[in-house]
Every structure is written in structure tokens, then in C-alpha cells.
């Protein structure tokens, strides 16, 4: 019997994440019981940085291992960098926030690391079971994190809702995987596609149903309409740092697996899923933007805006060309910076027992907290797609992918949606700058770590808008193996 070849360097980032997750738990158990557990956050940050430095040497090798179940190609590495950036900024925000809200347990930090691990597996898996395991590792950690504010009913509701609906969606996904296996006899993405091509299974009903189920499963994770119903409630109730993590990380990981499975295993069905995605994309953008207009809570508004952003990313998915896929990578990174930045501002404007998440709470803060308000404005304008910020460049690539493939109507609907979105992003700036404060917001504490997170997010947002060339060409190189 031949033992499978095991290359541990290939999964070094994942190993480090796991190890640090356990380390955080152990240190927590053996350390004195105090309220201040910031050092656990710092320990986790070290883990993230180490994982980052073990990710870099894998660049350009494109190696796969574990019997071809796991691959460290450009696509997965780019996404891993995005996940690590997201986890890094989330941890920075968390250090102050978790202590403020009294949830700075060891589990909190460990679960963030574990869910980052799950995301990495989703990006690297080339075998459906690996992808599924990654998805579950990520999701279960997030279910717990969403309910961390145990005393807060909304947080518990959020966790429970996410768990129930998430489990339901996972069921669909698993059913889809099972049907795929049933029709092709393989769980390797490449083999599935080869089998379909060799046996001409283009009209196989089992595969068609599997396609629909997979779309539902992934559509749930990326929060696309009509599988978005959970998003506003879950985002509103979860601790804000976790909302930020979900809105960026889970979405990015969902897209990673979505793209990998559809473009590697089911490319022959592209004409079929293109039309499904076209509809999903338009519905997601439009519903997200229109409902966002009427929101009164900033977290709910950002939840709907994140739905709309999933719609923009789907525009590039429909286009499906190299500009589109590298545009998605670029978009996910820019979106991570601006969205995490916006949530950081939301956190900074709150304090213990007073979250200040109503949009009207932002009245008049423009001149009271000028730097906070200016940062928030930058992030909101970036999400609205105003140059010279990262969000504009991201939309530029995504829509140019659609125009290149002559999806003119999709691009037009996309940019019009983007114009609609300007309205609700501007509304926050209107309150911040044009209105008098409705009530005094005093005693805000800006923890140094959160400020650092804010600075990172600002640099990222500006850099991606002003000098997008490097990151874009990096993204273009990264998808070489995938297409």
C-alpha cells in the first residue's frame, strides 16, 4: 500500500491558524481570571501575521497535495491574503470592542482563528468534501460568534436564526454535492468536469438539479437575493465586530468556493448558469439597494448594502472572463477594507450599553468627531463608487468585465443601482455634516487597536483607488490556473 504524499508546507498557514487557535484557548484556561484579555487578541494577531508569512512563499508554486484535494494556487493564495487581512483587522477592532462588551473570552479569539481556517480550506479545496468541511468549520464558528453577547436577546436571535437557516442552506449544498457525486461518481472538481465532457452529460437532469442546489447553498453564504432574508437580522444582532467579519470574510469565502466549484467542475454548464446568475445579480443589487434606502439602523443599512455588493460581484461572475474573475478578487479586497472600515467607525461611535447604531445618532458628529466622521465618509463614498477610492476601481473592473462580454444591460442596471446607492450612503454624510446633533454623544473611548484598524482600512481604501495597478496585475496573475 502506498502512503499518500503529505506536504505540510502546503498547509502551513492552516496549521498555524489551528495551532494558535488552540494556544489561545490554553493560555486562556491557565491564565488568571481577569476582565482584561487583550493579550489573547495580540496572540491571535501574531498567529495571523505568521500565517501570512507562511502564505507568501507558496506564491507561484501552484502546488497541490493530499491526493489533489488541496491546492495552493494563485487564486486560493490571493483569497487567503484577503481572509488574513480581514481577520487581522477584525482582531484589531475586537481588542477594544470585546472588552467593552464583556465578551473577551478566549473562545472569541480562537473562534475567529478557526473560522479563518475554514475560509482558507474553502478557497484551497479542490475536492467537494474539503470545501464542505471548510464551509462548516467557518460557519459553526460564526454561529457561535454571532451569539456571543449572551445577555442580548438580539444577539441570541441572530445566532439562532443564522444557525437554523444556515443549516438548511447547508443541507441544500450537501444535496447538491451528493447529486453531483451520483451523476459523475467523483468528488474531485477536475474529474467531475472531465466526466461530464467525456459522457456528454450536458442535459442530465440530476446535474441540473444539483446546479440549482449548489446555487442555493452558495447563494445563502454570499447573501444574494432571494437567499438573503437572514442577513439584516443576523447582522444587526451579532456583535458589530463579528458583523464586520461576516460581511467581508464569509462573503469572500462563499465567493471563493462558488467560483471554484462552478468554473472548475461545471464549466460546461456555463450557458445555463449564466442566465440564472444574471437574474440573481440584478435582483440582488436592486433589492439590496432599494431596501437599504428605508433603513433606520446603520447595521441593517450596511447589511443591505452588503447584499447589494454581492450583486455587483455577481455581475463579474456572469461575465466570467479573466477580467471578471480578477475583478472579483480585487473587489473582495477593496470591499474588505471599506466595509471593515465602516464597521470600525460604527463601533467607535458606541460605548458600553449605548451602541448608537441608529442612523440619526450620526447627526452632527461631523464637526464633533471630525476624523471619525471623515473616515466614515471616505468608506461610504468608496462603497458608493466615488473615485479615487478603492470601491470605484472595484466597480470599474467588475462592470468593464460585463461590458467586455457585451452584457450591456447588466452593466447599465449595475451602474444605475450604484447611482441609487449613493442616496443612502450620502444620507449618513448629510446627517453627519448638515444636521445639528440630536443628543449629546460623549465619553467615547477610542482604543489604540481600533484606531490602528481604521488607519489600515483607510490606507487600503485609498491605495486600491489611487494605485490599483499592482494589486490588479497580482489578481490577474493569480487566476492563471483557474481559467
Amino acid at each position: 500500500m502506498k502512503l499518500p504524499e503529505i506536504d505540510l508546507y502546503l498547509i502551513a498557514p492552516e496549521i498555524i491558524l489551528t495551532a494558535f487557535g488552540f494556544l489561545v484557548l490554553l493560555v486562556d484556561v491557565f491564565s488568571p481570571k481577569t476582565e482584561r484579555k487583550g493579550y489573547l487578541g495580540i496572540l491571535s494577531l501574531i498567529g495571523i501575521v505568521m500565517a501570512f508569512f507562511y502564505t507568501l512563499p507558496l506564491m507561484g508554486t501552484g502546488k497541490s497535495g493530499f491526493e489533489g484535494m488541496f491546492v495552493a494556487d494563485g487564486f486560493s493564495l490571493f483569497l487567503k491574503i484577503i481572509f488574513l487581512i480581514i481577520a487581522f483587522i477584525t482582531l484589531l477592532i475586537s481588542i477594544g470592542y470585546a472588552e467593552r462588551e464583556g465578551i473577551a473570552f478566549g473562545e472569541y479569539y480562537a473562534l475567529i482563528l478557526f473560522s479563518t481556517l475554514g475560509m482558507s480550506l474553502m478557497a484551497s479545496g479542490t475536492h467537494l468534501i474539503v470545501i464542505f468541511l471548510g464551509l462548516e468549520t467557518m460557519s459553526i464558528a460564526i454561529y457561535v460568534l454571532a451569539g456571543m453577547l449572551r445577555e442580548d436577546r438580539r444577539s441570541v436571535e441572530s445566532a439562532f436564526k443564522y444557525f437554523l437557516l444556515g443549516a438548511f442552506a447547508t443541507g441544500f449544498l450537501l444535496y447538491g454535492i451528493a447529486l453531483l457525486y451520483g451523476a459523475t461518481g467523483s468528488l474531485y472538481l477536475k474529474e467531475i468536469s472531465e466526466y461530464i465532457a467525456s459522457k456528454n452529460l450536458f442535459r442530465n437532469p440530476m446535474l441540473m438539479i444539483s446546479l440549482v442546489f449548489l446555487t442555493i447553498g452558495f447563494g445563502f453564504k454570499i447573501a444574494s437575493v432571494p437567499f438573503h432574508m437572514w442577513t439584516p437580522d443576523v447582522y444587526e444582532g451579532a456583535p458589530t465586530s463579528i458583523t464586520a467579519f461576516m460581511a467581508t470574510g464569509v462573503k469572500a469565502a462563499g465567493f471563493a468556493a462558488f467560483i471554484r466549484v462552478f468554473f472548475t467542475a461545471l464549466p460546461q454548464f456555463r450557458p445555463d448558469w449564466t442566465s440564472i446568475m444574471w437574474l440573481l445579480s440584478v435582483a440582488t443589487m436592486t433589492v439590496g439597494n432599494i431596501v437599504a434606502i428605508s433603513q433606520t439602523n446603520i447595521k441593517r443599512m450596511l447589511a443591505y448594502s452588503s447584499i447589494a455588493h454581492a450583486g455587483y460581484i455577481l455581475v463579474a461572475f456572469v461575465a466570467g472572463n479573466d477580467i471578471g474573475i480578477s475583478g472579483i478578487l480585487f473587489y473582495l479586497m477593496a470591499y474588505a477594507f471599506m466595509n471593515l472600515g465602516a464597521f470600525t467607525c460604527v463601533i467607535l461611535l458606541g460605548k458600553k450599553g449605548e451602541e448608537n447604531t441608529l442612523i440619526t445618532d450620526y447627526s452632527g458628529i461631523g464637526f464633533k468627531y471630525p476624523l471619525l466622521a471623515a473616515s466614515m465618509t471616505v468608506f461610504l463614498l468608496s462603497m458608493a463608487g466615488i473615485p479615487p477610492l478603492g470601491g470605484f476601481m472595484a466597480k470599474f473592473y467588475v462592470f468593464s468585465a460585463a461590458v467586455k462580454e457585451k452584457f450591456y444591460w447588466l452593466a447599465i442596471l449595475g451602474v444605475l443601482n450604484s447611482a441609487v446607492s449613493v442616496y443612502y450612503y450620502l444620507r449618513v454624510t448629510v446627517l453627519m455634516y448638515f444636521r445639528e446633533p440630536q443628543r449629546e454623544i460623549t465619553g467615547l473611548q477610542f482604543s489604540p487597536a481600533s484606531i490602528l484598524a481604521l488607519i489600515f482600512a483607510l490606507i487600503g481604501t485609498f491605495y486600491m483607488g489611487l494605485f490599483p495597478a499592482n494589486i490588479l496585475s497580482f489578481a490577474q496573475r493569480s487566476i492563471a490556473g483557474l481559467m
Partner: protein, 514 residues
């Protein structure tokens, strides 16, 4: 050409931004005003060499800078000016100085943020005028929105400033996002036909698209620019924005921002899609004529001075569009000249209205009357500017309107006749307004103690008056700068229209030569 080792156009684009950065670290209001003024003045001085070093014998782009911005996409950082943009750049740097001067006492709160917004706006405006790459242009075009939005929304008239600010932003944004799709479509069509990925307008000028495609792309560009101009029926944001903006905001809005629309037609929409522009000439001319007459008629019945001037802008910009779409030398030259005129005379009108508003905190015509008795200097300036706006011979307005009407007559007599009625209506509403505000008895006791203009206000207005006469008496100084560029613009246009068919792509040409 470089100043301090920095290429002049880049310097002009980013110098105000540097000023905005410096202002961040200043606390005292008085210092803030002075520093902002010094930066604006220096910017104006730096822009003067453009005028004197400009080579009038060539229609080629001058002071060109060309670097890659995003090479893999063919997006470049390409700047340059020709006779069309030269004068508009100078108008921008000139008006910004006056705007900062006229905000000296009018802006009493958040001075720092105000001055930063203004300098930021200047970067956007100059950038949009000198950009020769479509993406770069689009970036600057959008960048202008945010500071202007803040200027209206924070420092505007308390009553409806928020409504006006949002309306301004959304109208412009809605138009320009469609332009973005058109830019992308043009890029990919060009890439497919020639194999070259570029957003460089000068290269895209050479690209002959099928007329059917041109219609669509022209429509998207024209919508974005027509909203900005604003052409009837897309003008509804303008009276609100103008009325609610602070004085300096109105000046810069009328003086430069509206010109972005007309400039966009000249630089992008027409030369990129000449056949479509030619075919749609009747439609645009008719809309321009409606704008001229409708704007004038609505001006006549406005009770609010600023709203009156705002609607007169709709009328004046109608002339600019009419002249441009006459597609002959007189029309286009008159059109460019009228852009400058409008910046100067309407800008001055807003300044003048702002000065009386600062004293009385009302702009209602009915509140005034007989002001010439208490404010003689003010009355003199007001008269000159009013006459310039009407287009009295020996003022700048005459030259522009005359050329435009001449051009319109040559292309279509009916357009010329209808356009000329606008001149009469213009004289009617301006003179009637002037009479009601300035002459007669002082009916309102509040007006009796009004102070005449102070030195700063006179300094603000004198350069405008000098320009009004200079441009009216010696227009050659300015026409000589634009002659070559206008000629090239028209030759290229006519060449493409007469061919009627598409230009063969360079690839095809190369194959034929083989």
C-alpha cells in the same frame, strides 16, 4: 515646461490639494483665510505661463505629460491642453481666487472645512479640464462632486440646502454612471477593432465606429454632459443648487462646473462620435433654443435675485450649445467665448447678489428699490455687469452672442432668428430687474442705511470689470489662442461626417498596404 521641477499641469492639478493639506494644521480662522488665498493666488500665478507660453500656431496638445497609471488596462495619466481648455483652466484658477476673497466675511463658521473643500474642488476642476485619458477624466469629474456637495449642504441657505445638495449630487451621478458604461464600451470596441487597449482620447478620436453604435454611446455621453450644462429638460437641479449655495459656490458652479458639460461635448462627445453628433444636431439645437427662450421667460418672473440669475444661466448656456452645434468657425468660437463670458458675467452677478445678501439677508427683488442712491459704487459695478450679461457692444457678452448667432444663422436661419429673440428677452429681464432693484424711491426703510462696497469687495469686482471690457474690446487676444484648435476640431469633424462611412481601422489599413 516645469515649475520647481514639477511639470506645470501636474503642479496645477495638485497644488490646491497641497494647500488643502496645509490648511488641516491651521487653527486660527484669519490665518486659514489668508493661507487659502495665498494658495489660490499662487495657483493662479502658476497658471499664467500657460497663457504666455502657449504656442498659437499648433492645434496639437501642449504641455503634455504622459505616464502609465494602470498599464495592463491601457489607462494612462495623460494631461495636456489645447486652445479649448487653455482659457477654461485660466478661468478656473482666476475665479477660485475671487471666490476665496468673496467668502472672507460671508463664511463665518467651519472656515477650515470650507477652504479645504474649495481647494479640493479646484483640483477636481483643473484635473477634469486637462485630463486626456477617459478614465482619468472620469475620476476628476466625479471628484468635483463631493466638495461641491459639501459646499452647498453645509454652508448653503439653511432652508433648502440639503434638498439642493442631494439633488445636485444625484442628478450628476445618474448621468455620469451611464457615461462610464459608454466609456467602457468604447474601449472594448476599440480594442477589438485595433487590438490596442487604450483610454487615450486622442487615439480614440481616430476610431471610426458604425453610426448605429455611435448613437448609443453619444447618447450616454450627451446625457452626462447635458445634465451638467444643464440643457433643457435636465436643468431642474440648477436653480435649486444655485439658489441654496453660498455665494462663492454659486460663482464657481456657474463659472466652471457648468462649463464642464459644454467642455465635455467639445472634447469628448462630439469628436468621439461625430456622425451621431451631426445627425442629432437638430435635436440638440432645438433643446438649446428651448433653453434660451424658456430660461429667459422664467427668469423674468423670478422674485428672487439669485434664482433669476440661475435661470439666466440656463438661457446663456443654451447659446453655448446652439453655437457649438452650428458646427462652423463662428459658432464654435463664439461658443467657447461665451463659456468664458458666462463665467465672468454670471460669476460677477452672483458676487454682486452675494454682497447685497450679506448686508440685507434677503434676495427678494421686492425688498429692494432705489439702492443706487445709497450705494453708488455698487450700482456702477452692477450696471456694467448687467450690460455685459445682456451683451452690449464693447462688453464681452456682445462678442460671444454675436458670433454664436452669426454661426447659427449660417447653419440654419430659423435657429438664428429664434436665438436672437433670446437676446431681446435677456435685455428685458435683466434691465427690468436692475430697474426694480436700483432705481426709484427707497421704499423699504431698511435699505436707507446700507453701506457701499468696501475695499475687499471692490478688489473682488475690479478684475471682473477689466476682463469684461478687455474681452469686449480686444477679443483677438483670446481668439488667437483658440483659432488653431477650433479649426482642427471642425476639420476633423467635417472630415469624419463627409466620409459618412466608418474610418477603416489601422489594422485594415496596414493590410491594404500590404
Amino acid at each position: 515646461m516645469t515649475i520647481f521641477g514639477i511639470p506645470i499641469l501636474s503642479l496645477l492639478v495638485f497644488f490646491p490639494l497641497l494647500g488643502a493639506g496645509v490648511l488641516l494644521f491651521i487653527k486660527r480662522e484669519e490665518t486659514l483665510r489668508w493661507v487659502a488665498l495665498i494658495f489660490a493666488l499662487l495657483e493662479f500665478l502658476f497658471s499664467l505661463p500657460l497663457f504666455f507660453k502657449f504656442d498659437t500656431t499648433t492645434a496639437a496638445m501642449q504641455f503634455v505629460e504622459d505616464w502609465w497609471w494602470i498599464e495592463s488596462y491601457g489607462i494612462s495619466y495623460k494631461l495636456g491642453i489645447d486652445g479649448i481648455s487653455l482659457l477654461l483652466v485660466l478661468l478656473t484658477t482666476f475665479l477660485t481666487v475671487l471666490c476665496i476673497l468673496c467668502s472672507w466675511t460671508a463664511i463665518t463658521f467651519r472656515v477650515k472645512e470650507y477652504m479645504i473643500s474649495f481647494l479640493f474642488l479646484e483640483t477636481g476642476m483643473v484635473g477634469a479640464l486637462v485630463a486626456l485619458d477617459l478614465v482619468l477624466f472620469y475620476v476628476f469629474w466625479e471628484v468635483m462632486l463631493v466638495p461641491m456637495y459639501l459646499l452647498i449642504g453645509v454652508w448653503g441657505d439653511p432652508k433648502r440646502r440639503i434638498y439642493a445638495a442631494i439633488k445636485f449630487f444625484l442628478f450628476t451621478m445618474a448621468g455620469s454612471v451611464l457615461m462610464l458604461v459608454a466609456i467602457l464600451a468604447l474601449y472594448f470596441l476599440h480594442q477589438k477593432a485595433t487590438g490596442k487597449a487604450t483610454f487615450d482620447v486622442l487615439e480614440l478620436y481616430q476610431f471610426g465606429l458604425p453610426v448605429g453604435t455611435q448613437y448609443w454611446l453619444f447618447a450616454a455621453f450627451a446625457l452626462a454632459f447635458a445634465i451638467k450644462v444643464p440643457m433643457f429638460p435636465f436643468h431642474t437641479w440648477l436653480p435649486d443648487a444655485h439658489t441654496e449655495a453660498p455665494t462663492a459656490g454659486s460663482v464657481i458652479l456657474a463659472g466652471v462646473l457648468l462649463k464642464m458639460g459644454t467642455y465635455g461635448f467639445l472634447r469628448f462627445a462630439i469628436p468621439l462620435f461625430p456622425n451621431a453628433a451631426y445627425e442629432l444636431m437638430p435635436l440638440i439645437s432645438v433643446l438649446a433654443l428651448i433653453g434660451i427662450i424658456y430660461g429667459a421667460l422664467v427668469s423674468m418672473v423670478q422674485p428672487d435675485l439669485k434664482r433669476l440669475v440661475a435661470f439666466s444661466s440656463v438661457s446663456h448656456l443654451g447659446y453655448v450649445m446652439l453655437g457649438m452645434f452650428a458646427f462652423n468657425t463662428q459658432g464654435v468660437q463664439g461658443s467657447i467665448y461665451q463659456m468664458l463670458n458666462h463665467g465672468i458675467s454670471t460669476g460677477s452677478l452672483f458676487l454682486i447678489v452675494g454682497m447685497i445678501y450679506e448686508r440685507r439677508h434677503t434676495r427678494m427683488i421686492a425688498e429692494f428699490g432705489g439702492l443706487s442712491k445709497v450705494m453708488p459704487i455698487y450700482a456702477a459695478f452692477f450696471m456694467i455687469v448687467t450690460l455685459s450679461s445682456i451683451g452690449l457692444p464693447s462688453t464681452n457678452g456682445f462678442v460671444g452672442e454675436f458670433l454664436i448667432l452669426l454661426g447659427a444663422f449660417r447653419s440654419n436661419t430659423v435657429y438664428g432668428v429664434l436665438g436672437a429673440t433670446g437676446v431681446i428677452l435677456g435685455a428685458a429681464y435683466m434691465l427690468w430687474m436692475f430697474q426694480r432693484v436700483m432705481f426709484g424711491k427707497i421704499t423699504n426703510p431698511k435699505n436707507e442705511g446700507l453701506k457701499d462696497l468696501n475695499a475687499r469687495e471692490i478688489i473682488t469686482l475690479v478684475p471682473m470689470v477689466i476682463l469684461i471690457f478687455l474681452m469686449g474690446i480686444y477679443p483677438k487676444l483670446f481668439f488667437s489662442k483658440m483659432d488653431a484648435s477650433v479649426e482642427k476640431f471642425l476639420n476633423d469633424f467635417k472630415g469624419r461626417v463627409e466620409m459618412k462611412t466608418d474610418l477603416p481601422s489601422p489594422k485594415l489599413l496596414a493590410e491594404i498596404k500590404k
